[in-house]
């Protein structure tokens, strides 16, 4: 313990030296700039900017990457809240209530809550990372395909709480998303599924172009031509900060989101993407007024934003403790370390303590820098809403195309975004919500792969799902949740869904 603190002090002395701090700052600025591009979240941000850090020494490069990482994540939330354009797959949930808040004139509050939530989640999870990494990492590695399958199955249950409308519609949309996720090379056998000779579809339909299309582009298609363009929102200075009630309502979600995100995040693989979806569902389940979700509930911004942030920090646990590329972002960070001659691995902490601890310290510093940088910028960002829509939307379109193209350098992705924009526009007109499509698309390939890998491991015996303790526990929890919801279906005739429908009827909505 004492040793840890001493090491941390050394780390801070490196991270806070002016020449290093400058790079943390630059990283945050650059990360935010790139993250504002639709579709570019922390992963794409780090990948795109990685080459720019090759010229620096190891410490500066790692510190700058940590800054880019936090900046890109926050930049993504900004566009989600202001323009309903998800910066990455994980901020899809922020789009829903964040944008609804913005339309009500609470954009400043939403941005501030997102910034503070991310800050709290980031800091807490770095502390957890520092003290709990070794034991947690060993546990995380026990997550093999069967455990992963059970976890993702639990993730599917989340759907029930995601949409405010009819459950049947949400399920249909999820099935559509899951089917979209089937496109591409079958990773177990090498068959091309539904690709029709388009090589670019080999890796499947990317989540980024789908999310940007279904949310951002569909929104523009639906609003740009309205006879009365959306009002220009003129935020007043005193309305920039969240009200006392908003703070109170976000405290719980931030705390829960932080823990939930961290736990999901440490599991190797890409499950961290679903943390924001799970957090949203959890908050809606716990909320006293679940009907507010989708219409600007502050908890619907605070929870997912915190969960997303701590999940991506949690993903560093196996990487730092064991040197395992346990997810896409840690894999890029590991590569960055290798370029600088740092040999990542289980001995990293022992062999190169100053680097390890300056990385940890720079994660703290990056978080603080981001907060200092972004709270004042909230006022500036919110002023974007003053731009008249006929000028704003063409500019947004340009950035959508730019961002989606830049992620993979692929025009096919731009076409996917267009097709999804048209689909999202029509679905919106017909009264369907599109978030379940995105969740389905994320889950489908992972869940299928995990199931078939498990069967390959067990030579086709389904017993593998119940004989491994973690998988069995997760499946039992899922079963329990299903039974509980069935019980309420029988005993209580009116749940919040029915209340919501009644309330809407009373207001005279269709």
């Amino acid at each position: 313990m004492l040793e840890t603190l001493q090491n941390l002090a050394v780390g801070f002395s490196i991270a806070l030296s002016p020449s290093v701090l400058l790079y943390a700052f630059a990283g945050c600025v650059v990360g935010t700039l790139v993250g504002v591009l639709p579709g570019i979240g922390p992963l794409a941000g780090i990948s795109l900017l990685l080459p720019a850090t090759f010229g620096l020494d190891a410490t500066r490069a790692i510190v700058m990457l940590a800054g880019i990482y936090y900046g890109a994540m926050y930049g993504g939330s900004t566009t989600s809240i202001l323009m309903r354009i998800p910066g990455e797959a994980a901020s899809v949930m922020t789009c829903i209530d964040g944008y609804a808040m913005a339309r009500k004139g609470r954009a400043g509050a939403a941005l501030a809550i997102a910034a503070v939530g991310s800050y709290v989640a980031g800091t807490v999870s770095v502390v957890a990372l520092m003290f709990l990494a070794p034991p947690l990492a060993a546990f995380a590695l026990r997550f093999g395909p069967p455990e992963y399958f059970a976890l993702l199955l639990l993730g599917l249950l989340v759907l029930a709480y995601m949409s405010g409308g009819s459950m049947l519609k949400a399920l249909a949309m999820a099935a559509l998303g899951l089917l979209l996720g089937m496109i591409g090379i079958d990773q177990m056998t090498g068959y091309f599924r539904f690709a029709y000779g388009v090589v670019e579809l080999g890796d499947g339909i990317g989540v980024v172009p789908v999310a940007v299309g279904l949310f951002g582009l569909a929104e523009i298609l639906a609003t740009a031509g309205q006879a009365t363009p959306p009002d220009v929102i003129k935020p007043k200075l005193r309305e920039l900060l969240p009200s006392r009630r908003e703070w109170k309502e976000s405290a719980g979600p931030i705390g829960r989101g932080t823990v939930l995100g961290f736990v999901i995040g440490i599991i190797p693989g890409s499950a961290h993407i679903i943390s924001s979806f799970v957090s949203y569902a959890l908050e809606r389940k716990l909320s006293k007024r679940p009907e507010e979700f989708g219409h600007g509930a502050v908890a619907g911004v605070a929870g997912p934003e915190s969960a997303n942030n701590s999940a991506t920090s949690g993903a560093f646990v196996p990487m730092l403790a064991l040197g395992v590329p346990s997810g896409p972002i840690p894999a890029v960070m590991l590569a960055a370390m290798m370029v600088h001659g740092v040999s990542p691995g289980p001995l990293l902490i022992k062999n190169q303590p100053e680097l390890f601890w300056s990385f940890i310290a720079s994660m703290y510093v990056g978080n603080v820098v981001l907060l200092i940088l972004n709270l004042p910028l909230v006022g500036l960002f919110v002023n974007l809403l003053r731009v008249p829509y006929p000028i704003l939307y063409p500019s947004i379109l340009v950035f959508c195309v730019l961002g989606v193209y830049a992620v993979n350098g692929s025009v096919v992705d731009v076409w996917i975004m267009l097709a999804m924009g048209a689909l999202g526009y029509v679905l919106r007109k017909l009264g369907f919500e599109t978030a379940p499509v995105v969740l389905g698309l994320i889950l489908a390939p992972m869940i299928e792969m995990a199931m078939r890998q498990s069967l390959a491991m067990s030579d086709g015996h389904y017993a593998i799902f119940v004989t491994r303790p973690i998988a069995a526990t997760l499946l039992a929890v899922g079963l329990l949740l299903v039974l509980l919801s069935l019980k309420s279906l029988v005993t209580r005739s009116l749940d919040w869904r029915a209340r919501l429908a009644l309330a809407e009827k009373g207001e005279g909505h269709p």
Binding site: L141, G184, T189, E200, A336, M457
Partner: protein, 327 residues
């Protein structure tokens, strides 16, 4: 004639003159793009960047790396295969360049590209894969491992970077050379495959030496044998399958530079010279040392020979695997 129009005509004439003059200047006269068909941070990308930087010094023109990713590299490779053969679009490819067309053929689909659409420039690195098992498994030597696999066909499992991926092919070559059968659990990339063996979810993995070296040192993984024609420098006590009597189990994860077929010979010669100078560059050497990737420079006929032999082995391997059975 108005002065403005006259001025624009003069400018146009100057531009045309410049273009005409440019056409006579020796290659290269403008920036060169090296396509890495895998995302930043991968082996292709990490090799491409120091090479590009070192070539820039020689060619006196910017050499940039662009990542065109997708479909296990097929997207970027197809992009270069169909680019103009003028020496301004190059490809940094890995071993999978010979696997993808063969897998396409196997499934009867129009190939995204074929190997003969490329003109090899130079081989930059070649690293034999190494067989590792979790340290708590009973096999102490490759002989134990193969004998156990013979006793229990289809029971010993291995993870790979994906079906028909490089790490899968290495194991398949071994399985055919030794006449044994393993159980294949594909993962989505080399990273997840490594995580799987460290978590104890599979029994074996064929991997590039650099990524498993730290885990061997920490005692988590045990190396049994290598696929090279000689031992890995960092693991001098680990034998090769060749020494153990399986000469067909030879496999390298290599990285080489290619141009589209039809690139004029003088341009290719200039590029070969540039790569030769680049691999001798101290900055480049230092960069590759950090990645722990040994430089294995080959060019011209020598590279062509290596490339052809490798492509033959892999094509053969893919055919032997055949379509994955689903009973």
């Amino acid at each position: 004639m108005k002065p403005a129009r006259l001025a624009s005509l003069v400018v146009l004439a100057l531009v045309l003159a410049a273009v005409a003059a440019g056409a006579q200047e020796p290659y290269p006269t403008r920036p060169i793009t090296v396509v890495a068909p895998f995302p930043p941070g991968g082996v292709a990308d990490l090799t491409a960047r120091p090479v590009a930087a070192a070539m820039e010094k020689v060619l006196k023109n910017p050499v940039g790396v662009v990542n065109k990713t997708g479909a296990a590299g097929a997207v970027g490779m197809q992009f270069v295969a169909t680019s103009k053969p003028d020496g301004y679009t190059l490809l940094l490819a890995l071993s999978s360049i010979s696997i993808i067309p063969e897998a396409d053929k196997l499934f009867g689909r129009p190939p995204a590209f074929t190997v003969d659409q490329f003109a090899p420039i130079a081989l930059i690195s070649a690293d034999p894969t190494v067989l590792v098992v979790p340290a708590d498994k009973p096999w102490k030597t490759a002989k134990d491992f193969v004998e156990d696999a013979k006793r229990r066909p289809g029971q010993i499992s291995f993870s790979s970077s994906g079906v028909y991926g490089t790490l899968h092919m290495a194991m398949e070559l071994l399985s055919h050379a030794a006449g044994v059968k393993f159980r294949h659990v594909p993962y989505a990339g080399a990273g997840p495959a490594l995580t799987a063996i460290l978590g104890g979810h599979v029994d074996a993995l064929a991997s590039g030496p650099a990524v498993v070296l730290p885990h061997i040192k920490s005692g988590k993984l045990r190396p049994l044998a290598g696929w090279g024609d000689r031992r890995v420098a960092a693991l001098p006590e680990v034998p090769t399958f060749k020494e153990l009597g399986y000469p067909d189990a030879e496999f390298y994860i290599w990285a080489g530079l290619f141009a589209p077929k039809g690139t004029p010979e003088p341009v290719l010669a200039r590029l070969r010279d540039a790569v030769r100078a680049a691999v001798a560059d101290p900055d480049f050497k230092a960069g590759m040392d950090k990645l722990q990737t040994p430089v294995a420079f080959k060019q011209g006929a020598e590279f062509q020979q290596f490339f052809d032999a490798d492509a033959r082995r892999l094509a053969d391997g893919v055919r032997k695997v055949g379509k994955i059975e689903t009973k």
